[in-house]
């Protein structure tokens, strides 16, 4: 085992060197047993890899949980590896330094297992950059016994096909239990001695429910480019891979001795995970489908976790993480409990974005008793018709009622999130966004001077809708970039006289490539590699993204991006992700797609079960 020495001039010349130097409170350093000892009792060195900067990666809950979970075992040492920012990566290349772990500065290629968590498709090229800088062969086919196994997990892996050639194995679903089984399987394989092969470990791992070994499946295509078959190419390999979930979140492992970063990160506070999943069923939302069914933690467990973590971390702020936090059934009990316990210690509670329909003045006042956080509303679409299409069951009246409460409560504004390019969108829907903002302005003016803030400040942003796998819109074409650009300009024009509105938008070109990758197949692997070789990395960062490079690479590979992004699929089409089973059935998704096209809404899980299929897991909200 070797250690990467970081010369002073290197660290002194890069932005935020503390990203690379580790040593944080609660980070874990272990002693690696000698080779001779390991022959008797194998030891696993695991690198948790996050394909973005330290600040973003350290804000990821999966990393926080799995890092400590793995390190609970005496025969495993899990360390962290983040993508070095471009300045550092370039310097490392020119000085011939390999990518290293934060805890022991061990080169990436010396680890046994690398576990990447993928939160967005635009991180794909950064994964290749990390492997390459870490001296790990990019392709699974080129790796030998001397190389690590490269794994992936996270929401993006529900369609990992574009990256299928780079990952040895993929974990579908929540990692807590299945990762422990993979580790056990690895240690067993490592103990098998000289005769062991990579194939042997992958064969064994593929028997674990939730583990997908892409190279064990062969994909064939029809002449029109769509998929003909996806089949196992070895015996004893399952035809479909079902996601894994954890049921009893109160009993599930949750680390209370969490790492405290030395340099500021995006979510620099104590995290509480209130629940997993979401009952709402918004039709554009992949997380809302793949994390089903909803499972909650008890408020008493959360309060004691917060108190414990306050002591072990020294943080002075507690935040709540979940898909739609205000849907938590015991939110009031939880916030009361937290405020009562935390306020005497100068610890504040930061309230997350709240939904409009169950928005309450009481909750807002609670938040303001500590620090007045921002308010975030996501109506997503500008007209009732389009909100019905996407099943975002919010009315204009809800929004105005909530805004009135907010303005009277002393808030001077809110962030409003919308999407452009939703299926069936017309110019009226785009104009509806401006009308909503103007209705809020009118509301503000109608309030008596003493009952409203001095100024109204609305921050309105639009993101591009991207159809994702395992959503009702997986069959739907993505809107074209030119139309989106003109819709954006139109909206900007409509808002030019609304002085209290600040309009921000997301770049449609980036969304186009994200759309291609999201519903892409294995043929895109060479495109991703070519883009990486051409200089693509950190594609999710506006200033790093190179659209022309991507379009060139697609062209070179003879692939039409519109085939992936802009094509409407038929009910019969086999998707690149058809062998993955997230519980929610294709029949349900299709019926939701049909209801969407007819602008019919579907009630949320707690109102009425719509038989999505997630009941098959045997727990959660389905059985409450």
């Amino acid at each position: 085992m070797s250690t990467v020495n970081l010369p002073r001039h290197l660290l002194a010349s890069v932005e935020k060197p503390a990203r690379y130097t580790g040593g944080e409170w609660n980070s874990i350093v272990k002693t690696v047993p000698e080779a001779a000892e390991q022959a008797l009792r194998p030891f696993l060195r695991y690198a948790f890899c996050f394909p973005d900067t330290y600040e973003i990666g350290m804000s990821n809950l999966a990393l926080r949980i799995l890092y400590h979970l793995l390190n609970e075992r005496p025969d495993v040492w899990c360390e962290r590896v983040f993508a070095p920012w471009t300045d550092m990566a370039d310097r490392m290349r020119s000085e011939g330094l390999p990518l290293f772990s934060l805890e022991s500065r061990t080169p990436l290629h010396e680890f046994d297992l690398l576990g990447f968590t993928l939160q967005y498709e635009l991180a794909f090229t950064t994964v290749l950059e990390m492997l390459d800088l870490g001296r790990v062969p990019l392709y699974t086919a080129d790796r030998t016994l001397a190389d690590p196994f490269v794994m992936a997990g996270g929401p993006v892996v529900y369609n990992i096909e574009p990256m299928a050639d780079f990952f040895d194995l993929v974990i579908i679903g929540e990692g807590e239990e299945v990762l422990a089984e993979v580790v056990e399987c690895y240690l067993h394989w490592k103990a098998s001695g000289e005769t062991r092969t990579r194939e042997g470990f992958l064969q064994a791992a593929a028997q674990i429910e939730g583990v997908y070994v892409p190279s064990f499946y062969t994909v064939t295509y029809q002449s029109d480019g769509t998929i003909q078959t996806i089949e196992p190419n070895r015996s004893g390999i399952p035809a479909t891979i079902r996601k894994r979930i954890v049921f009893d979140l109160d009993q599930a492992y949750f680390p209370t001795r969490s790492i405290v970063p030395n340099t500021e990160i995006v979510h620099d506070r104590i995290f509480l995970e209130l629940f997993r999943g979401c009952t709402r069923g918004c039709r554009f939302c992949q997380a809302g489908m793949i994390y089903r069914p909803v499972r909650e933690k008890k408020p008493s467990a959360l309060v004691s976790q917060a108190l414990e973590m306050e002591k072990t971390t020294g943080y002075d702020e507690v935040g709540m993480l979940s898909l739609s936090t205000s849907d938590y059934s015991a939110l009031s009990e939880l916030t009361d409990g937290l405020l009562c316990e935390l306020t005497p210690h100068h610890t504040s509670l930061s309230l997350p974005s709240l939904r409009l329909d169950n928005f309450s003045l009481e909750l807002m006042e609670k938040a303001s008793s500590t620090r007045k956080g921002g308010l975030t509303f996501a109506p997503e679409a500008g007209t009732q018709r389009l909100r019905d299409v996407i099943n975002k069951n919010i009315t204009e009246e809800d929004l105005l009622k909530a805004m009135e409460l907010a303005l009277r409560g002393g808030w001077s504004g809110a962030k409003l999130y919308f999407m452009l390019g939703l299926p069936t969108e017309t110019i009226e829907d785009v104009e509806g966004i401006a009308h909503l903002a103007q209705a809020i302005e009118k509301l503000y003016q109608s309030l008596p001077r003493f009952e409203r803030p001095k100024r109204l400040e609305l921050s309105l942003s639009t993101a591009m809708f991207i159809p994702k796998p395992f959503t009702p819109f997986q069959w739907s074409p993505q809107a074209d970039t030119e139309t989106m650009k003109s819709h954006q300009m139109h909206l900007k024009d409509l808002l030019r006289h609304s002085r209290s509105v600040r309009y921000k938008w997301h770049e449609p070109k980036q969304s186009y490539i994200e759309g291609v990758l999201a519903r892409g197949d294995r043929r895109l692997g060479v495109v991703i590699e070519a883009a990486y070789r051409g200089g693509a990395r950190f594609d999710a960062w506006d200033e790093q993204f190179k659209i022309d490079l991507w379009l060139d690479c697609l062209k070179q590979a003879g692939l039409d991006p519109n085939f992936y992004a802009r094509r409407e699929r038929t009910r019969q089409e086999i998707f690149p992700w058809s062998h993955i089973d997230c519980g929610v059935t294709e029949d349900f998704l299709w019926s939701e797609y049909q209801r969407a096209m007819a602008a019919q809404t579907t009630p949320e899980c707690r109102e009425q079960c719509s038989a999505c299929g997630a009941q098959c897991f045997g727990g959660g909200v389905c059985y409450e």
């Binding site: 010369p7 001039h9 060197p17 020294g314 943080y315």
Partner: protein, 222 residues
Amino acid sequence: MSETFIVRLRFSRQEPAIWLAHLDMMRTFERSIRRAGLPICWSQGYNPRPQMTFALPISVGLATAGDYLDMSLAEDLDPYEVMDRLNHSLPTGFAILDAIRVAPAKASLMSLVRAAEYRLETPGLAEAVARIANTQPLVVEKFSKGKMVEVDIRPLIEKIQLKGPDCLEMRVKAGSSANLRPDLFLKALETYGDLPAAAAADCAATRLALILDSASPASDSQ
């Protein structure tokens, strides 16, 4: 307002903590104090902060063997207990070396700083120092308040002592009115003493001590 008790701590920072920016270090100390469960006083106002003051900012990459930090406590704790509890709560690279009680004074800790001693280590230092021995003045460019200004650093240097061909110790003016940072001194060595840029970039710098106003009780050990 209730009575507050000030404890002055002398601390060191070494690898890897030397790579923290000053603001990061302040946050790190705040959290360490909370983990140690020390009864720190909080500032008044909209956004209360724990009350502590560093004698002098420490730039990124600089180690220290003896900087000072004052913290206000709501209880009269034994300074050594404060030191001990904090030493069990600080991340890798930080250590509290000494702690004393000081009387609440009108002058802030920052205003007491007079000079600082540094050790610099990099190949070719002694030769470069010899070359600037008679350079008068030593004008270097410095980024200050948003623009580049020229400063003569000669008057800021009190003493330079060579410890070998690649090592020196120096005493320079420090504090809010006149302050010389080691990077600026290295720039002068590069400009006037032909110190290779690579040697300057790789120079390890440690603040050995901060010299406080002699009227201050911190210079007496307890």
